[in-house]
Amino acid sequence: MTLLTIDSLTKQFKGLRAIEEVSFTVEPQSITSIVGPNGAGKSTLFNMISGYLKPTAGKILFDGRDITGSAPYRVCRQGIARAFQISKPFPELSVRENVLVAASFGRLGVRDPMATTTQAIDICHLTPWANQPAGSLSIGNLRRLELARAIAARPILLLADEPCAGLNEKETRELTDVLSKIREAEVTVLLVEHDIKAVRRVSDRVIVIEAGRKIADGAAADVFADQTVIDAYLGTTAS
Amino acid sequence: MTKISRRTALGLFGASVVGSTALRFAPARAQDGGVIRFGGSLGMSGRYAETGLNIRHGYETAIKYLNEEMGGVEIGGKAYRFELGIVDDASDPARATTLIQRQVDEGVDFFLGSYGSNVVLPCAGITEAAGKIMVQVGASADQIFTQGYDYIFGLFPRASRAWVTSIELFKTIEPKPKSVSIIATNGAFSKLNAEAAAAGCKEIGIEVLDVLELPEQVTDASSALATIRSRTPDILITTTVDQNSLVIVRQMIATETNVPLLYQFLGPQLPAYRESLGAKATGVIMQLPWDASLDFSDPVFGDTESYISYYNETNKRPLSYHTVGASACITTYVEAMRAAGSIDPAAVRDALDAIDITTAFGPVKFTEDGDGDPILMGAKIGQVQDGKIKVIFPTDFKTGELVYPTPTWAQKG
């Protein structure tokens, strides 16, 4: 059974087609990565899944239910959480409080906010900073706070938006470790990422998008061997 | 550095708090030894501040005269001096009632009023409950006098009776005016007067064409004036306050809106109004609660003329009818105290009920409800002629003849 089904999704912005008839599925407890050059429409896709944008056409099915055009908080309550590329902590709240918010809202169902919070902070190696205001964290810690907050929402599916952008080698490795741990916790991950190394390391499956269209879909090794992908993706990043 | 300046600033603030508190309690201790304290609030900040300032000058002039020129007054065999404590109510009823309550608590016995029924009525509720008298020259809404309050008096007749003399005048005009229109704003004062004027006109068979209401602050009356031009009445009445009256008349001139007779309830009384309009002001008629040309004897000042000269010696601000009325409030109080031979509020109130005197303001006699007697204290009617105000009605007080119909704006030059 598939967890997420994207069915011919299209988004039109005043004459510009940001996403055109994109379809794919995400299997439970996998890490699926979406890659593609800047402006390919990855963020638009995420925004539609998480409820910030309404698709012009097409359907999003999550766990068998149609969530096309649902409000962000409803999407979250169904069990989809999102970690932003640019961390958006609540700066005046402490790290623990930031995570606690997600733990006390997030997916519907039985909650134990305190336990979830402690666990999420632990998974993301944030315990030493738990009582500091989020506004004072370093970039690497902020990224992990963003992830911690997302998983504290107890998602079935986690949307992670370029969690490794701007991180150094060591920080990237820490972060991919966290992602793997998250999968071990039976959370499905949908990742948008630029760092090919990181993608290769963690992904079960890779989807490539260019100019709003899906151009490849398959296991990481196969996809990165595909000539169209190399031309489209690697070509543009090189130029 | 910032630490010091902040602390210093807070310290200064604290000091000023203590300082001003100390100041205010100083005069309160001098209450014994024959001092009569008048209290009350006025809207000194806010839209009615101009009237507030006029009234305040009137109170201050009377108190100054009583203390400095007369050396106090003897009441029931004891000499008294007078003190005045006026506070700014900012036309805010919550603030007004609190400040009035403070004066009641501090033993002020005699109150002078603010204006605007939404301020005066709640205040009157407090003074009434405390058994204190209020004599005021600002508010004339009917509701003030129909609450069954025993201790409130007003120098003006209640609004619904303020048009008695005007209607009498309309009866005498030749050729008989057939129609009026009224421009009012949607405030209590203006609306009440518009209703009274309309009712009075209907009663004597003058048709009321339109009652046009404008928002409380008039910046543009063009639409109302377009209606007036398309359906011109013989008399146009405006029951607006000074500033709005001036907006309306200036726009009438600019848009060549001519009527045979323009009656502006308030406005033309002000020198500024006539100065602003120059020759164009000619022919406008108005209510004259008071006019300098009418000489009345006054138990304190002697007569109107000596009042005016004393006022002008001691004040820079031009005299207005509100000022004279305010002085008359105090004169009336003093006369009532003398008649009662006591400063006991109940006795003074009985004396006020029975009072029948003249002051620089004119005759003073109250109805049973406490408002001014509509005949004796009703306004005279004046008309601007050659830049001056002539009294044209009632006939006994006439200093000029009514010009009707008046020339058009263009003819006035």
Partner: protein
């Protein structure tokens, strides 16, 4: 969940109990004037606390709370008039309160649906416009009698002077406001609102039902404000549109909150106390300059205590603690 707040320390409980005891005894020892001041502090302080239900947590700053204040007053006043003397004054007041709260609930929901979509200053302006419209409507249509005004019946209670009676009513009102605020602050709703105040989009992403939470806070705030309006005009005994639809009422609620400390429960009360004492006692006798001085104090407050007086105290306190720890560690 109980919010992320630590349990209330015993000192705060003790202080609150002491204040409450003092507040109950006050009307039997203080002069009517002081009681009137206290009435105003309780009423406007309570209203400022109610305003903080939305404005304190988030940047949805209503510049038009006078709308609900006036709406409540008119609803209760006009209904009382219709009920007439067959009903006792107390009955009219209670029915009026219920009616006012119900009407303001409906009005708040109706106005919130479009207006709460606006953010920042646009929300502030929209609320201001809403208050202006209600004020004009109440004056314009004779049905509402707003231009001329109408009297309200005198409420009596055996053994209590009017000023004492209304003191207790305002005290009750203030307590209800404070209770609602504290409950909200310590609940999931409060956590959600705090997050909305920090970053609305992120809050929604974490599953905070932002639209509903804003609506609930706004409606609660409006209903409390309406109840305050009813008590206020019953206390005065006569009302016109000018009595209740005043821009300065709306502005004062913000001002009191800012002076004391926005988003706290004590802040608005402290702010109301200071500003009312300042404008009506310290500067009350000044005829000419009190507005100027009030303005100067306001400016000084913002410059010297940008987070309100509470913020100032907190900073001073933590600074002292820091100094003590530095001294303690050799």
């Amino acid at each position: 969940m109980r919010g992320f707040h630590k349990p209330v320390p015993a000192t705060v409980w003790a202080l609150a109990a002491l204040l409450l005891a003092g507040a109950v005894v006050l009307p039997f020892v203080a002069s009517p004037f002081h009681l009137r001041l206290a009435q105003q502090i309780l009423l406007f302080g309570g209203l400022a606390v109610a305003w903080n239900l939305l404005g304190g947590f988030t940047t949805y700053w209503s510049f038009g709370h006078a709308a609900f204040f006036g709406l409540g007053a008119f609803a209760a006043g006009l209904l009382g008039q219709q009920l007439g003397a067959e009903f006792s004054v107390a009955a009219r007041l209670i029915i009026g309160l219920a009616f006012a709260v119900a009407i303001s609930l409906v009005a708040a929901v109706a106005v919130a649906l479009p207006v709460l979509r606006l953010r920042g200053i646009y929300f502030a302006i929209a609320m201001l416009a809403f208050a202006q419209i209600l004020g004009e409507v109440s004056k314009t249509f004779d049905l509402f009698q707003g231009a001329m005004g109408f009297p309200l019946p005198l409420l009596k209670f055996p053994g209590l002077e009017k000023v004492q009676l209304f003191y207790f009513l305002f005290l009750l009102f203030c307590l209800v406001s404070v209770a609602v605020f504290v409950l909200v602050k310590r609940s999931r709703l409060g956590v959600g609102l705090t997050c909305i105040g920090q970053d609305e989009d992120t809050a929604a992403m974490l599953g905070v039902p932002t639209e509903r939470y804003k609506l609930v806070a706004f409606v609660l705030s409006a209903m409390l404000t309406a109840a305050g309006g009813v008590l206020y005009v019953y206390g005065l005994g006569f009302m016109t549109s000018e009595t209740v639809f005043r821009i300065d009422i709306s502005l004062n609620l913000i001002l009191f909150s800012m002076v004391g400390g926005i988003g706290t429960v004590a802040g608005p009360l402290i702010g109301a106390t200071i500003m009312i004492l300042l404008t009506q006692v310290v500067l009350g006798d000044l005829l000419d300059l009190h507005m100027m001085l009030t303005g100067a104090v306001l400016i000084a407050m913002v410059i010297l205590a940008p987070k309100g007086l509470l913020g100032l105290f907190r900073r001073a306190w933590s600074r002292r603690r820091l100094a003590e720890t530095v001294e303690a560690t050799p």
